[in-house]
Structure formats: C-alpha cells, structure tokens
Subunit: 216 residues, 2 copies
DNA sequence: CCAAAAGTGTTTTCAGTACACCCATGC
DNA sequence: GCATGGGTGTACTGAAAACACTTTTGG
C-alpha cells in the first residue's frame, strides 16, 4: 500500500556548437517500436536517485562522473498503463570534450535539439518539455554553464546558446559587453580553429561566485 | 529491491501582515519531544503526491482545496535512521481568509516566520530551507501571489513581503510606481481598517497573464 | 494637537538597446 | 581578392534609484 516503484528518467544535455541537445534512445521493439525514449532505470533501495541516474549513464554510454540533479516529478497514477511507477526526471550535463573521448556513433541513440523532439513513448515527451523548461532557466546561471564549458568557449558559441534559451536574437556587441561587464569570464589569449572566417577568441569562466547572466 | 516508501512533507505557507510564514507541528513525545516538524504522510499507491499533501492538510487543519505542488526531493538513504523513506517536499499555499475561518488556536502547532525556523526533527530543517528558497523565487510571480491574496491587499503589506523575499529595503514610492506600471493590479476604492495611522488603499490582482514583479 | 502610518513627483543614474564598419583567415 | 564569420565604439532610451514633504486617521 505504501510501496512504490521509482524510476530515474535521465535528461542528458550537451551543448554542441551553441545548440542545446538531449540524448534519446530509439525503441527497437514493440510496443512503440521506432519511438524515442529517455534512458531510465528503476531506483533500487540502496541508492540515491542521483546514483541511479549516474549508473544509467555509465551503463548506456560508458561515461562516469557526470553531474546530475533532480528535475521534475510525476506521480500520475496512469502515466504508464497497468503499473504504477513514480517518475523523477534527472537533469544531467556532459561537455563535448568528454563526449568526443567516449562516445561512438550508434543506430540506437541520437542527440536532438531540445526544441525539436521526436515522438516518444508514454509521457517522455511531456517530461522532456517540462524538464527542459526548468533547465533553461537554470542554465542562465554560470553554475551550470561552467559544466558545459569546463575549459573554454567562444563568444559566438555562447551567444548562440543564449539566443536559443531566450528565444530571441541578441546583438553581438551588446552580448559581449554584458558578459565582460559581469566580470565572470577571462580571455585565454588563444584562438580556435575556425571552419571559415576569422578565428574566434577563446574565453573561460573565472573561479568566482556564480551569477545569472540574464533574467527572464 | 525496487519498492520504496515515499512521504509528502507539507510546507504550508501563508502571508500574515506581510510576513511569509510556515506551519509547523510540535512533537509531543520522544524521540525529539519538543522539536518541530512538517506535517507529513506516506503516499499510498492509489493517490498522487498532490492528493497526499492535500489529505494531510485536510486531516490536520480541516481545510480543503488548498493549492499544492512539488518542491524538492530527497533520496538520501539514511535521512531517517533504520528505514528508507524518499521525501518529497510539497509547497502549499493558504490565504489568511481561509485561515481565519477554519483554524483555531492550538498548543500543537504554530506559524513561524520562514527566516526564523526552530529546531526540527531529522532533516526537516534542511528541507524547509531548500523548499523555501525555491518558493521565494517562485513567489516573485503573480501566479503565486494571487493565491495568498485572492481578494485584496494593501501596498505596504505587499511591499513588506517583497522586502523579506529580496532581503533588502525598498523605497515606498518606487515600489508603488513599479507595481502600477506592470498593469497587474487595480484599486478597489476600498480602505482597510488600520491599527493606527492613515488607512491604506486596498488593491486586487487583475485577471491578466501572470508575470514576475522583480528579478534576482 | 500629536503620533503613526499612507500617499505623492521630480531628478539622476545606469543598464539595455540600436546601429555600421573594419579585421583575420581559408580558398 | 573575395567570401565568411569575428571584433569593435558611440549615442539613445527607458527603467531603477534617490530623495522630503503632505495627508488621513485614532487617541
């Protein structure tokens, strides 16, 4: 009567060329064959929900030490037919460096832009939407930005991410001015290798207190 | 192995004379006799966490139709000795009108200013702090303010609440100017009965889209 | 008439916005 | 040398902050 199954639904995010993306797996068998899903696992008695999420990532991708934290919770009785499972969505962040080192191409998973989610099993689509909305507001804070950019980044890259988060275009000069005025980043005096055009300067986050870059 | 007990830890808030307060109950027996606690109940299989929280409030105070939503989640294995219970803190909001109609004085409970929480059982103190921090940021939005003030309120009352939320003093004239400029409230042309001094004008929230009053 | 709290307008300051031209690289 | 994307400075605008005196009530 009081015992419940709890599943961690892992929303694993990365920033790829200034785009916020989430990792989804393809369901290879019926029901819902061809639909997409969040990697998930039932939480066992002797672990925390964070441990459960980290184990799921490790199992699916072979990557360890990924930051996770709880997102939203769903206790709808009938969210999955014929069984009662409490869902806890987990926000997880991985940077492109770790990604490139450890992840190979696969038929079974794909990184999707968070604003372009394919059809999913059960309520995963709704969970992704709610969790991503929550995460987008958190992501305006350097605490989370740091995790995507543990080493360095370019201004145009970061600007592109903010344009997606805020859903509007930002003037290049004003964005740069604002970021520098906050005194949270520093010039590394390095340049990236660009596809074409002038190479961009690389910046990194200073080791200061975290603050929000934008509101609203 | 996969079955867990889940408890709803109800953080019931009200605004009393511009002060944000939370309801706590006194533990009347050992262990932790004399310590304070959040009202809570284990969630049963056939209810949602919201229903569990609402039932808890109904049981303790005899008040129904109270708005609730999930706050934070704790899955620490040893948060309660010798047993594993997953804790979900629930934000619940009650207005002073409902309060006065239904609640009588009691030895067993008390409304505490959220910035002055007494000693609590287990991890309740930490849960209150985290949930209240979360709620304070939400409370800058009229969606939640409305629930505290379903009928009307005075400017000084609302200003006092904002001063607590933001942790700083606000100029009376500037606060008034800002609130009126947002076009979210209207003058009811009524006055309240004051303790002493000039009676304050009563305002109410317009039926418009919700927005944030302040950031940061 | 005195104490207590509410109400009101103007100036200053600073952050946000708008805007156009030059620079470094690859091909 | 040209296409591509990166880097820079200034003027305008509007919201936030600073600030002091008057009004209404109860006792």
């Amino acid at each position: 009567m009081f015992n419940n199954k709890i599943e961690a639904l892992v929303n694993l995010y990365t920033v790829d060329n200034g785009e916020l993306k989430i990792l989804l797996f393809k369901k290879m068998d019926d029901p819902f064959k061809g639909y997409w899903m969040l990697p998930s696992n039932l939480m066992i008695n002797k672990e925390t929900i964070e441990e459960c999420a980290e184990a799921t990532i490790s199992e699916k991708l072979g990557v360890n030490d990924v930051y996770t934290e709880p997102g939203i919770i769903t206790t709808q009785i009938d969210r999955i037919p014929d069984t009662r499972i409490v869902g806890i969505s987990m926000i997880a962040i991985i940077d492109t460096v770790k990604l490139n080192l450890n992840i190979e191409e696969s038929e079974e998973y794909e990184w999707f832009n968070v604003d372009n989610i394919p059809k999913t099993i059960y309520d995963h689509g709704e969970i992704i939407k709610k969790t991503t909305d929550l995460f987008k507001t958190k992501l305006l804070n350097t605490k989370y930005l740091r995790k995507f950019f543990p080493s360095d980044f370019t201004m145009p890259e970061l600007q592109k991410l903010f344009e997606q988060l805020l859903g509007k275009e930002i003037d290049r000069r004003n964005f740069r001015k604002k970021l520098l005025s906050l005194d949270i980043i520093e010039n590394t005096n390095e340049k990236n290798v660009s596809m074409s055009g002038r190479p961009a300067t690389l910046y990194s986050f200073k080791e200061t207190d975290d603050k929000n870059v934008y509101y609203e």
